[in-house]
Protein backbone atom coordinates (compact mmCIF):
# COMPACT_ATOMS: atom_id res chain seq x y z
CA UNK A 1 0.00 0.00 0.00
CA UNK A 2 1.07 3.55 -0.71
CA UNK A 3 1.78 5.29 2.64
CA UNK A 4 -0.72 8.03 3.45
CA UNK A 5 -0.33 10.66 6.16
CA UNK A 6 -2.69 13.02 8.00
CA UNK A 7 -1.35 16.40 6.96
CA UNK A 8 -4.00 18.57 8.56
CA UNK A 9 -7.15 18.47 10.67
CA UNK A 10 -9.72 21.08 11.62
CA UNK A 11 -13.15 21.04 13.19
CA UNK A 12 -15.60 23.81 13.90
CA UNK A 13 -16.79 24.10 17.49
CA UNK A 14 -19.63 21.61 17.99
CA UNK A 15 -22.54 23.89 18.89
CA UNK A 16 -25.94 22.92 20.22
CA UNK A 17 -27.42 25.26 17.62
CA UNK A 18 -25.38 27.07 14.99
CA UNK A 19 -27.61 29.88 13.76
CA UNK A 20 -24.73 31.70 12.07
CA UNK A 21 -23.29 29.43 9.38
CA UNK A 22 -25.04 27.65 6.53
CA UNK A 23 -23.50 24.60 4.80
CA UNK A 24 -21.23 26.43 2.32
CA UNK A 25 -20.01 28.72 5.08
CA UNK A 26 -19.26 25.77 7.39
CA UNK A 27 -17.45 23.92 4.60
CA UNK A 28 -15.49 27.02 3.57
CA UNK A 29 -14.25 27.67 7.08
CA UNK A 30 -13.40 24.14 8.04
CA UNK A 31 -11.67 23.13 4.79
CA UNK A 32 -9.66 26.36 4.75
CA UNK A 33 -8.60 25.69 8.36
CA UNK A 34 -7.58 22.09 7.61
CA UNK A 35 -5.57 23.18 4.56
CA UNK A 36 -3.90 25.90 6.65
CA UNK A 37 -3.07 23.27 9.27
CA UNK A 38 -1.45 21.23 6.50
CA UNK A 39 0.37 24.24 5.05
CA UNK A 40 -1.29 23.55 1.70
CA UNK A 41 -3.52 25.49 -0.64
CA UNK A 42 -6.74 24.64 -2.43
CA UNK A 43 -4.89 24.06 -5.69
CA UNK A 44 -2.72 21.37 -4.10
CA UNK A 45 -5.75 19.09 -3.56
CA UNK A 46 -6.14 16.39 -6.21
CA UNK A 47 -9.27 14.73 -4.86
CA UNK A 48 -12.04 15.82 -2.52
CA UNK A 49 -14.68 13.68 -0.82
CA UNK A 50 -17.44 14.74 1.57
CA UNK A 51 -19.80 12.99 3.96
CA UNK A 52 -23.24 14.35 4.79
CA UNK A 53 -26.86 13.33 4.92
CA UNK A 54 -29.71 15.01 3.06
CA UNK A 55 -32.24 13.80 5.64
CA UNK A 56 -30.31 15.53 8.40
CA UNK A 57 -29.95 18.73 6.38
CA UNK A 58 -33.58 18.51 5.28
CA UNK A 59 -33.13 18.96 1.53
CA UNK A 60 -31.96 16.93 -1.45
CA UNK A 61 -28.40 17.33 -2.76
CA UNK A 62 -27.34 19.47 0.18
CA UNK A 63 -23.78 18.26 -0.43
CA UNK A 64 -23.85 19.91 -3.86
CA UNK A 65 -24.91 23.20 -2.26
CA UNK A 66 -22.09 22.84 0.23
CA UNK A 67 -19.55 22.56 -2.60
CA UNK A 68 -19.90 26.32 -3.06
CA UNK A 69 -17.84 26.60 0.09
CA UNK A 70 -14.96 24.76 -1.54
CA UNK A 71 -14.70 27.09 -4.49
CA UNK A 72 -14.96 24.17 -6.90
CA UNK A 73 -13.97 26.16 -9.97
CA UNK A 74 -12.25 25.37 -12.28
CA UNK A 75 -13.89 21.93 -11.95
CA UNK A 76 -12.37 19.60 -9.36
CA UNK A 77 -12.36 15.82 -8.91
CA UNK A 78 -14.93 15.34 -6.19
CA UNK A 79 -17.08 12.65 -4.64
CA UNK A 80 -19.59 12.28 -1.83
CA UNK A 81 -20.75 9.57 0.56
CA UNK A 82 -24.12 9.65 2.26
CA UNK A 83 -22.26 8.63 5.41
CA UNK A 84 -20.07 10.00 8.15
CA UNK A 85 -17.03 11.89 6.89
CA UNK A 86 -14.86 9.00 8.15
CA UNK A 87 -16.03 7.05 5.11
CA UNK A 88 -15.27 10.04 2.91
CA UNK A 89 -11.74 9.84 4.30
CA UNK A 90 -11.69 6.13 3.47
CA UNK A 91 -12.63 6.88 -0.15
CA UNK A 92 -9.94 9.57 -0.25
CA UNK A 93 -7.40 7.05 1.07
CA UNK A 94 -8.43 4.56 -1.62
CA UNK A 95 -8.18 7.31 -4.25
CA UNK A 96 -4.62 8.09 -3.14
CA UNK A 97 -3.74 4.42 -3.67
CA UNK A 98 -4.31 4.97 -7.42
CA UNK A 99 -0.99 6.79 -7.46
CA UNK A 100 -1.81 9.77 -9.69
CA UNK A 101 -2.95 12.11 -6.90
CA UNK A 102 -0.84 13.06 -3.86
CA UNK A 103 -3.15 15.20 -1.70
CA UNK A 104 -6.79 14.54 -0.84
CA UNK A 105 -9.32 16.42 1.26
CA UNK A 106 -12.12 14.74 3.24
CA UNK A 107 -14.78 16.62 5.13
CA UNK A 108 -18.13 16.12 6.79
CA UNK A 109 -20.83 18.47 7.98
CA UNK A 110 -24.15 18.21 9.73
CA UNK A 111 -26.67 20.08 11.81
CA UNK A 112 -28.73 18.38 14.47
CA UNK A 113 -30.63 21.59 15.13
CA UNK A 114 -32.38 21.70 11.75
CA UNK A 115 -34.76 18.90 12.64
CA UNK A 116 -34.96 15.65 14.53
CA UNK A 117 -31.91 13.40 14.15
CA UNK A 118 -33.91 10.85 16.13
CA UNK A 119 -36.59 10.78 13.43
CA UNK A 120 -33.96 10.49 10.69
CA UNK A 121 -32.36 7.54 12.48
CA UNK A 122 -35.74 5.83 12.66
CA UNK A 123 -36.21 6.32 8.90
CA UNK A 124 -32.75 4.86 8.23
CA UNK A 125 -33.89 1.48 9.54
CA UNK A 126 -35.03 -1.38 7.29
CA UNK A 127 -38.07 0.11 5.52
CA UNK A 128 -40.16 -3.08 5.66
CA UNK A 129 -39.88 -4.51 9.13
CA UNK A 130 -38.26 -1.83 11.32
CA UNK A 131 -38.87 1.77 10.20
CA UNK A 132 -42.71 1.46 10.19
CA UNK A 133 -42.60 0.46 13.88
CA UNK A 134 -41.25 3.90 14.73
CA UNK A 135 -38.66 2.91 17.31
CA UNK A 136 -36.26 5.72 18.13
CA UNK A 137 -32.51 5.28 18.49
CA UNK A 138 -32.48 5.43 22.29
CA UNK A 139 -34.99 2.58 22.87
CA UNK A 140 -33.08 0.62 20.23
CA UNK A 141 -29.80 1.19 22.08
CA UNK A 142 -31.60 0.23 25.30
CA UNK A 143 -32.28 -3.25 23.88
CA UNK A 144 -28.55 -3.65 23.34
CA UNK A 145 -27.83 -2.35 26.83
CA UNK A 146 -30.33 -4.86 28.24
CA UNK A 147 -28.56 -7.68 26.40
CA UNK A 148 -25.29 -6.58 28.01
CA UNK A 149 -26.81 -6.56 31.49
CA UNK A 150 -28.44 -9.95 30.95
CA UNK A 151 -25.12 -11.42 29.77
CA UNK A 152 -23.33 -10.06 32.84
CA UNK A 153 -20.97 -8.06 30.63
CA UNK A 154 -21.83 -4.65 32.09
CA UNK A 155 -23.72 -2.89 34.87
CA UNK A 156 -25.65 0.37 34.84
CA UNK A 157 -22.79 1.77 36.94
CA UNK A 158 -20.44 1.03 34.03
CA UNK A 159 -22.67 3.08 31.72
CA UNK A 160 -22.71 5.93 34.24
CA UNK A 161 -18.91 5.87 34.59
CA UNK A 162 -18.56 6.39 30.83
CA UNK A 163 -20.87 9.42 31.07
CA UNK A 164 -18.90 10.91 33.98
CA UNK A 165 -15.53 10.54 32.21
CA UNK A 166 -16.85 11.70 28.80
CA UNK A 167 -18.35 14.88 30.25
CA UNK A 168 -15.24 15.64 32.29
CA UNK A 169 -12.97 15.20 29.25
CA UNK A 170 -15.38 16.99 26.92
CA UNK A 171 -15.47 20.02 29.18
CA UNK A 172 -11.66 20.26 28.78
CA UNK A 173 -11.99 20.13 24.97
CA UNK A 174 -12.71 23.61 23.67
CA UNK A 175 -14.45 22.29 20.53
CA UNK A 176 -17.04 20.28 22.53
CA UNK A 177 -20.06 22.02 24.08
CA UNK A 178 -20.00 22.53 27.83
CA UNK A 179 -22.12 19.92 29.57
CA UNK A 180 -23.29 19.70 33.15
CA UNK A 181 -20.74 17.73 35.18
CA UNK A 182 -22.26 14.38 36.10
CA UNK A 183 -20.92 12.02 38.72
CA UNK A 184 -21.67 8.38 38.10
CA UNK A 185 -23.37 8.15 41.48
CA UNK A 186 -25.70 11.03 40.63
CA UNK A 187 -26.35 9.72 37.12
CA UNK A 188 -27.71 6.49 38.56
CA UNK A 189 -30.35 8.37 40.56
CA UNK A 190 -31.94 9.90 37.44
CA UNK A 191 -35.01 8.32 35.81
CA UNK A 192 -34.92 5.96 32.88
CA UNK A 193 -35.88 7.29 29.47
CA UNK A 194 -36.07 3.76 28.14
CA UNK A 195 -34.77 1.23 30.67
CA UNK A 196 -31.95 0.51 31.31
CA UNK A 197 -30.81 3.76 29.66
CA UNK A 198 -31.19 7.26 31.04
CA UNK A 199 -31.16 10.52 29.11
CA UNK A 200 -27.46 11.19 29.67
CA UNK A 201 -26.56 7.73 28.29
CA UNK A 202 -27.36 9.12 24.84
CA UNK A 203 -25.43 11.67 22.81
CA UNK A 204 -25.36 15.45 23.06
CA UNK A 205 -26.40 16.29 19.50
CA UNK A 206 -24.62 19.22 17.91
CA UNK A 207 -24.01 21.20 14.71
CA UNK A 208 -20.62 21.37 13.07
CA UNK A 209 -18.11 20.30 10.47
CA UNK A 210 -14.67 18.73 10.28
CA UNK A 211 -12.03 18.27 7.59
CA UNK A 212 -8.86 16.22 7.20
CA UNK A 213 -6.15 16.66 4.59
CA UNK A 214 -4.36 13.47 3.53
CA UNK A 215 -0.99 13.52 1.83
CA UNK A 216 1.46 10.96 0.50
CA UNK A 217 4.25 13.12 1.93
CA UNK A 218 5.35 12.19 5.51
CA UNK A 219 4.21 15.46 7.05
CA UNK A 220 2.06 14.10 9.89
CA UNK A 221 0.78 10.90 11.51
CA UNK A 222 0.88 7.91 9.17
CA UNK A 223 -2.21 5.82 8.51
CA UNK A 224 -0.79 2.45 9.55
CA UNK A 225 -4.02 0.67 8.66
CA UNK A 226 -7.61 1.42 7.75
CA UNK A 227 -10.52 -0.92 7.13
CA UNK A 228 -14.27 -1.16 7.56
CA UNK A 229 -16.72 -4.04 7.96
CA UNK A 230 -20.46 -4.40 8.36
CA UNK A 231 -22.76 -6.66 10.37
CA UNK A 232 -26.34 -7.71 9.60
CA UNK A 233 -28.77 -4.79 9.78
CA UNK A 234 -31.50 -6.51 11.82
CA UNK A 235 -30.76 -6.16 15.55
CA UNK A 236 -32.39 -9.53 16.17
CA UNK A 237 -30.03 -11.27 13.72
CA UNK A 238 -26.89 -10.48 15.74
CA UNK A 239 -25.46 -11.08 19.19
CA UNK A 240 -25.82 -7.47 20.31
CA UNK A 241 -23.22 -7.87 23.07
CA UNK A 242 -20.32 -8.32 20.65
CA UNK A 243 -19.17 -6.67 17.43
CA UNK A 244 -17.75 -9.03 14.84
CA UNK A 245 -17.36 -6.20 12.35
CA UNK A 246 -15.15 -4.15 14.69
CA UNK A 247 -12.93 -7.13 15.45
CA UNK A 248 -12.62 -7.97 11.74
CA UNK A 249 -11.91 -4.38 10.71
CA UNK A 250 -9.32 -3.94 13.48
CA UNK A 251 -7.51 -7.11 12.42
CA UNK A 252 -7.55 -5.97 8.80
CA UNK A 253 -6.14 -2.59 9.89
CA UNK A 254 -3.14 -4.31 11.47
CA UNK A 255 -4.39 -5.26 14.91
CA UNK A 256 -4.47 -3.34 18.17
CA UNK A 257 -1.17 -4.41 19.69
CA UNK A 258 0.65 -1.41 21.17
CA UNK A 259 -2.33 0.93 20.92
CA UNK A 260 -2.14 3.54 23.69
CA UNK A 261 -4.97 5.93 22.72
CA UNK A 262 -8.39 5.17 21.25
CA UNK A 263 -10.99 7.62 19.99
CA UNK A 264 -14.30 5.76 19.86
CA UNK A 265 -17.47 6.73 18.01
CA UNK A 266 -19.72 5.67 20.87
CA UNK A 267 -23.21 7.19 20.70
CA UNK A 268 -24.57 5.47 23.80
CA UNK A 269 -22.54 4.97 26.95
CA UNK A 270 -23.50 1.28 26.95
CA UNK A 271 -21.64 0.72 23.67
CA UNK A 272 -18.14 1.66 24.85
CA UNK A 273 -17.49 -1.70 26.49
CA UNK A 274 -18.60 -3.56 23.35
CA UNK A 275 -16.16 -1.59 21.21
CA UNK A 276 -13.26 -2.01 23.64
CA UNK A 277 -13.84 -5.76 23.99
CA UNK A 278 -14.05 -6.17 20.20
CA UNK A 279 -10.72 -4.35 19.94
CA UNK A 280 -9.18 -6.57 22.62
CA UNK A 281 -8.46 -3.48 24.74
CA UNK A 282 -9.55 -2.28 28.14
CA UNK A 283 -9.63 0.99 30.05
CA UNK A 284 -5.85 0.82 30.62
CA UNK A 285 -5.54 2.67 27.29
CA UNK A 286 -6.56 6.31 27.08
CA UNK A 287 -10.21 6.16 25.96
CA UNK A 288 -11.62 9.07 23.92
CA UNK A 289 -9.58 11.85 25.60
CA UNK A 290 -11.50 14.40 23.50
CA UNK A 291 -14.67 13.48 25.39
CA UNK A 292 -15.77 11.50 22.38
CA UNK A 293 -18.99 11.33 20.41
CA UNK A 294 -21.14 11.14 23.53
CA UNK A 295 -20.62 14.84 24.32
CA UNK A 296 -20.10 16.30 20.81
CA UNK A 297 -22.23 14.28 18.43
CA UNK A 298 -22.44 16.13 15.16
CA UNK A 299 -24.13 13.87 12.60
CA UNK A 300 -21.85 12.77 9.72
CA UNK A 301 -18.93 14.45 11.49
CA UNK A 302 -18.42 12.61 14.78
CA UNK A 303 -16.59 9.68 13.15
CA UNK A 304 -14.25 11.87 11.11
CA UNK A 305 -13.47 13.82 14.29
CA UNK A 306 -12.35 10.59 15.96
CA UNK A 307 -9.68 10.20 13.25
CA UNK A 308 -8.70 13.85 13.66
CA UNK A 309 -8.39 13.56 17.43
CA UNK A 310 -6.45 10.30 17.11
CA UNK A 311 -4.06 12.13 14.76
CA UNK A 312 -3.77 14.92 17.32
CA UNK A 313 -2.93 12.30 19.96
CA UNK A 314 -0.06 11.03 17.78
CA UNK A 315 1.09 14.60 17.24
CA UNK A 316 1.06 14.91 21.04
CA UNK A 317 3.25 11.85 21.60
CA UNK A 318 0.99 8.78 21.36
CA UNK A 319 2.78 5.81 19.80
CA UNK A 320 -0.20 4.12 18.18
CA UNK A 321 -3.65 5.70 18.20
CA UNK A 322 -6.82 3.98 17.03
CA UNK A 323 -9.87 5.79 15.69
CA UNK A 324 -13.26 4.13 15.36
CA UNK A 325 -16.25 5.39 13.38
CA UNK A 326 -19.67 3.81 13.23
CA UNK A 327 -22.73 3.94 11.00
CA UNK A 328 -26.12 2.27 11.06
CA UNK A 329 -28.09 0.99 14.05
CA UNK A 330 -26.36 -0.49 17.09
CA UNK A 331 -22.79 -0.43 15.78
CA UNK A 332 -23.80 -2.15 12.53
CA UNK A 333 -21.02 -0.76 10.32
CA UNK A 334 -17.61 0.10 11.71
CA UNK A 335 -14.43 1.70 10.43
CA UNK A 336 -11.07 1.38 12.15
CA UNK A 337 -8.14 3.69 11.36
CA UNK A 338 -4.80 3.21 13.12
CA UNK A 339 -2.33 6.08 13.22
CA UNK A 340 1.38 6.07 14.08
CA UNK A 341 4.12 8.70 14.03
CA UNK A 342 5.41 9.34 10.50
Amino acid sequence: MRPVYVAGFAELPHLLQDNLLDEPEMVQRVTAAALADAGLGRDDVGFTCSGSNDYVMGRPFSFATALDGLGAWPPIRESHVEMDGAWALYEAWVRLQHGDVDVALAYGFGKSSLGSVEAVRTLELDPYSLAPLGIGPLPLAALQARALLDAGLATEADFAAVVERSRRDGNRNHTAPMTEAMSAAHALTLPYISSPLRGHDGPVRTDGAAAIVLSTEPVGPRIAGISHCIDAHQPGFRDLTVSRSIATAAAAAGGTSGVDVVELHVEYSSQEGIVLRALGLDSSVSVSPSGGALVANTPMVAGLCRIGHAANAVRGGAKRALAHATSGPLLQHNLICILEPA
Binding site: P132, L133, L143, R146, Y192, S194, S195, G236, F237
Partner: protein, 134 residues
Protein backbone atom coordinates in the same frame (compact mmCIF):
# COMPACT_ATOMS: atom_id res chain seq x y z
CA UNK B 1 -40.29 37.63 12.47
CA UNK B 2 -40.35 33.92 11.81
CA UNK B 3 -40.99 32.55 8.31
CA UNK B 4 -42.36 29.03 8.06
CA UNK B 5 -43.12 26.78 5.12
CA UNK B 6 -44.61 23.30 4.96
CA UNK B 7 -42.16 20.59 3.90
CA UNK B 8 -42.71 16.84 3.57
CA UNK B 9 -39.62 14.67 3.87
CA UNK B 10 -40.25 11.57 1.74
CA UNK B 11 -38.88 9.18 -0.84
CA UNK B 12 -40.20 10.21 -4.24
CA UNK B 13 -40.29 6.66 -5.57
CA UNK B 14 -41.78 3.25 -4.82
CA UNK B 15 -40.11 -0.15 -4.75
CA UNK B 16 -41.65 -3.56 -5.26
CA UNK B 17 -41.12 -6.02 -2.44
CA UNK B 18 -39.52 -8.81 -4.47
CA UNK B 19 -40.26 -12.54 -4.20
CA UNK B 20 -39.18 -13.21 -0.59
CA UNK B 21 -40.76 -10.23 1.10
CA UNK B 22 -43.89 -10.35 -1.07
CA UNK B 23 -44.49 -13.90 0.12
CA UNK B 24 -43.84 -12.86 3.73
CA UNK B 25 -46.22 -9.91 3.68
CA UNK B 26 -48.91 -11.80 1.77
CA UNK B 27 -48.78 -14.58 4.38
CA UNK B 28 -48.84 -12.00 7.17
CA UNK B 29 -51.93 -10.38 5.66
CA UNK B 30 -53.51 -13.85 5.69
CA UNK B 31 -52.59 -14.30 9.34
CA UNK B 32 -49.56 -16.60 9.01
CA UNK B 33 -46.05 -15.83 10.28
CA UNK B 34 -43.52 -17.20 7.79
CA UNK B 35 -39.75 -17.10 8.05
CA UNK B 36 -37.28 -18.49 5.54
CA UNK B 37 -34.74 -21.29 5.83
CA UNK B 38 -31.14 -20.62 4.81
CA UNK B 39 -28.85 -23.15 3.11
CA UNK B 40 -27.24 -23.82 6.50
CA UNK B 41 -30.65 -24.66 7.99
CA UNK B 42 -31.21 -21.52 10.06
CA UNK B 43 -34.67 -19.99 10.03
CA UNK B 44 -34.68 -16.20 9.64
CA UNK B 45 -37.64 -14.25 10.93
CA UNK B 46 -38.45 -11.66 9.76
CA UNK B 47 -37.22 -13.05 6.46
CA UNK B 48 -34.37 -11.61 4.45
CA UNK B 49 -33.62 -12.22 0.76
CA UNK B 50 -30.16 -13.56 1.58
CA UNK B 51 -28.28 -15.28 4.39
CA UNK B 52 -26.55 -12.42 6.24
CA UNK B 53 -23.62 -14.70 7.10
CA UNK B 54 -22.90 -16.00 3.60
CA UNK B 55 -24.79 -13.81 1.11
CA UNK B 56 -26.43 -16.97 -0.32
CA UNK B 57 -30.05 -16.92 -1.49
CA UNK B 58 -32.57 -18.20 1.04
CA UNK B 59 -34.88 -21.16 0.52
CA UNK B 60 -38.40 -22.23 1.41
CA UNK B 61 -40.77 -20.49 3.80
CA UNK B 62 -41.13 -21.93 7.31
CA UNK B 63 -44.11 -21.17 9.52
CA UNK B 64 -43.05 -19.85 12.93
CA UNK B 65 -44.68 -18.64 16.15
CA UNK B 66 -47.04 -17.12 17.08
CA UNK B 67 -45.47 -17.82 20.49
CA UNK B 68 -41.91 -16.92 21.29
CA UNK B 69 -39.43 -15.83 23.92
CA UNK B 70 -38.22 -12.32 24.81
CA UNK B 71 -34.45 -12.03 24.23
CA UNK B 72 -34.19 -8.33 25.14
CA UNK B 73 -36.60 -5.60 26.20
CA UNK B 74 -36.86 -1.95 27.10
CA UNK B 75 -39.61 0.14 28.59
CA UNK B 76 -40.12 3.84 29.04
CA UNK B 77 -41.71 4.94 32.30
CA UNK B 78 -45.52 4.49 32.07
CA UNK B 79 -47.39 5.36 29.94
CA UNK B 80 -44.45 5.19 27.55
CA UNK B 81 -43.62 2.60 24.93
CA UNK B 82 -42.17 -0.85 25.53
CA UNK B 83 -40.17 -2.77 22.93
CA UNK B 84 -39.06 -6.37 22.72
CA UNK B 85 -36.80 -8.58 20.68
CA UNK B 86 -38.69 -11.86 20.34
CA UNK B 87 -37.37 -15.15 19.01
CA UNK B 88 -40.49 -16.88 17.72
CA UNK B 89 -40.88 -20.63 18.12
CA UNK B 90 -39.19 -22.27 15.13
CA UNK B 91 -36.99 -19.26 14.31
CA UNK B 92 -33.28 -18.77 14.96
CA UNK B 93 -33.38 -14.97 14.90
CA UNK B 94 -35.37 -12.40 16.83
CA UNK B 95 -37.78 -9.78 15.57
CA UNK B 96 -38.21 -6.30 16.97
CA UNK B 97 -41.71 -5.15 17.82
CA UNK B 98 -43.86 -3.35 20.33
CA UNK B 99 -44.84 -4.98 23.59
CA UNK B 100 -48.48 -4.14 24.25
CA UNK B 101 -48.88 -5.93 27.58
CA UNK B 102 -48.09 -4.66 31.08
CA UNK B 103 -44.46 -3.45 31.00
CA UNK B 104 -44.06 -4.49 34.64
CA UNK B 105 -44.29 -8.11 33.51
CA UNK B 106 -41.33 -7.79 31.14
CA UNK B 107 -38.23 -9.87 31.68
CA UNK B 108 -35.79 -11.65 29.44
CA UNK B 109 -37.03 -15.18 28.83
CA UNK B 110 -40.70 -14.19 29.13
CA UNK B 111 -43.04 -16.22 26.92
CA UNK B 112 -45.03 -13.91 24.63
CA UNK B 113 -47.30 -14.27 21.63
CA UNK B 114 -47.91 -12.15 18.56
CA UNK B 115 -51.24 -10.35 18.50
CA UNK B 116 -52.42 -9.83 14.93
CA UNK B 117 -54.31 -6.73 13.85
CA UNK B 118 -57.93 -7.32 12.90
CA UNK B 119 -57.63 -5.32 9.68
CA UNK B 120 -54.52 -6.57 7.87
CA UNK B 121 -53.05 -4.99 4.75
CA UNK B 122 -49.69 -6.73 4.23
CA UNK B 123 -47.62 -4.43 6.39
CA UNK B 124 -45.38 -5.19 9.38
CA UNK B 125 -47.94 -3.49 11.59
CA UNK B 126 -50.32 -6.37 10.74
CA UNK B 127 -48.66 -7.64 13.90
CA UNK B 128 -50.19 -5.23 16.40
CA UNK B 129 -47.62 -6.18 19.02
CA UNK B 130 -46.60 -8.87 21.45
CA UNK B 131 -48.34 -9.72 24.70
CA UNK B 132 -47.78 -12.23 27.49
CA UNK B 133 -48.67 -15.76 26.40
CA UNK B 134 -51.82 -17.04 28.11
Amino acid sequence: MELTSPFTLEYAYKRSLGPVLSRFFTALRDGRLEGVRTATGRVLFPPLEYDPDTGEDVGEPVEVGPGGVVTAWTAAPPPGEAWVLVRLDGADTAMLHRFTGDPASLETGLRVTARLAEQRVGFITDIAGFEVEA
